[in-house]
């Protein structure tokens, strides 16, 4: 079992990295790019626990540690 977590900066937080990447893409000639958000991707391998426990546990870890709710949002998926 695997947990996949995507962490992105909250919309209200200025994301200078996203802005810099967006500018570079536009400079390279790519069209139609209206915004870029740079976040983080985490993969956590799990075994020996059931899916629901895994979800609850990792969800809690996302809130307490893996993301900072002041500045970030997260999306969690549990995969077999």
């Amino acid at each position: 079992m695997k947990a996949r977590i995507i962490i992105t900066p909250k919309k209200a937080v200025v994301d200078p990295q996203g802005k810099a990447v967006q500018n570079a893409l536009l400079q390279m000639g790519y069209k139609g790019i209206s915004a870029v958000h740079v976040g983080k991707y985490l993969e956590i391998e799990l075994n020996g626990i059931d899916r629901e426990t895994a979800r609850q546990q990792i969800d809690e870890a996302c809130r307490r540690f893996l993301s900072n709710p002041v500045i970030e949002d997260y999306h969690l998926e549990i995969l077999d």
Partner: protein
């Protein structure tokens, strides 16, 4: 007087802080290893600058769960003075001891330069020795010092006079040009509601000796030491009992000469 300076793996301003306390101010300072679950007899704690845990995940995110942080939290809850500098500020925000967060500088650049700071509230243990109307010229050195908090928190910080220092120009105006990292409201440093936990991104420990180009950082350490000395003078000494971190109004100082006299 004992000041504890916490060392995390990756702290790199710990020795500077200890040097200033011992050699500039002549007070006892000692290191507290991050794995220690006790602070020992200390009157104040400094979380120094650096790159704890390589800034992995987020600045301060891993350090915040070091064993020593439970003791720091407890010390703060009991009214003990805690000062965070740079990475120490980031750790205190991650730990929830201070509101908000420090994010990537808006310029994306690591900024290493002198800034001017305006002290907005001189009625705190961290600012009481800052002369009125004097700007502090202190260096910064950070890549992630852009202070962010939502509007409600910012309004609360303002209403409660908890913004201690703001980046400003040479005339004391908090302009956008004088803001090195994009911090909201030009915030360089704040304190908690109780006023016993404060932090700033600039490095006062790098501005305490003329040879370094500025001695303005001394005002911040002098404030802490003056506050503690006054507290020591006001309270009834009970050297045999350590109670270094009780409420401001009723405090027994940590007069532990075991640490005080040896000069580590």
């Amino acid at each position: 007087m004992n000041v504890g300076v916490v060392q995390f793996p990756g702290s790199n301003c710990d020795q500077d802080v200890v040097h200033v306390l011992r050699n500039v101010f002549g007070v006892s300072a000692r290191y507290i290893w991050h794995k220690s679950s006790k602070l020992g007899p200390v009157d104040a704690v400094v979380l120094p600058g650096g790159f704890s845990y390589g800034d992995y995940l987020r600045t301060g995110a891993i350090a915040r769960f070091s064993p020593v942080m439970s003791a720091v939290q407890q010390f703060a809850e009991n009214g003990g003075l805690v000062l965070g500098i740079c990475n120490g500020f980031q750790i205190l925000c991650e730990a929830g001891l201070l509101p908000g967060a420090l994010v990537r500088n808006r310029s994306l650049q690591f900024r290493c330069e002198y800034v001017f700071l305006k002290t907005l509230n001189r009625n705190t243990p961290f600012t009481l020795k800052v002369p009125p109307d004097q700007l502090l010229r202190i260096p910064i050195a950070h890549g992630e010092g852009c202070y962010f908090a939502d509007e409600a928190i910012l309004a609360q910080l303002q209403a409660e006079n908890r913004i201690l220092w703001q980046y400003c120009d040479v005339n004391g105006n908090p302009t956008e040009a004088a803001n090195p990292n994009g911090s909201l409201l030009n915030i360089a440093g704040i304190c908690n509601a109780r006023g016993n936990v404060a932090a700033l991104m600039p490095h006062p420990e790098r501005a305490c000796e003329p040879i370094l180009g500025s001695t303005d950082g001394k005002f911040i350490f002098a404030s802490i030491l003056a506050f503690l000395t006054e507290r020591v003078a006001l309270s009834t000494p009970k050297p045999e009992i350590f109670a270094g971190a009780k409420d401001h109004s009723n405090t027994t100082p940590a007069k532990n000469l075991e640490f005080g006299g040896k000069g580590f």
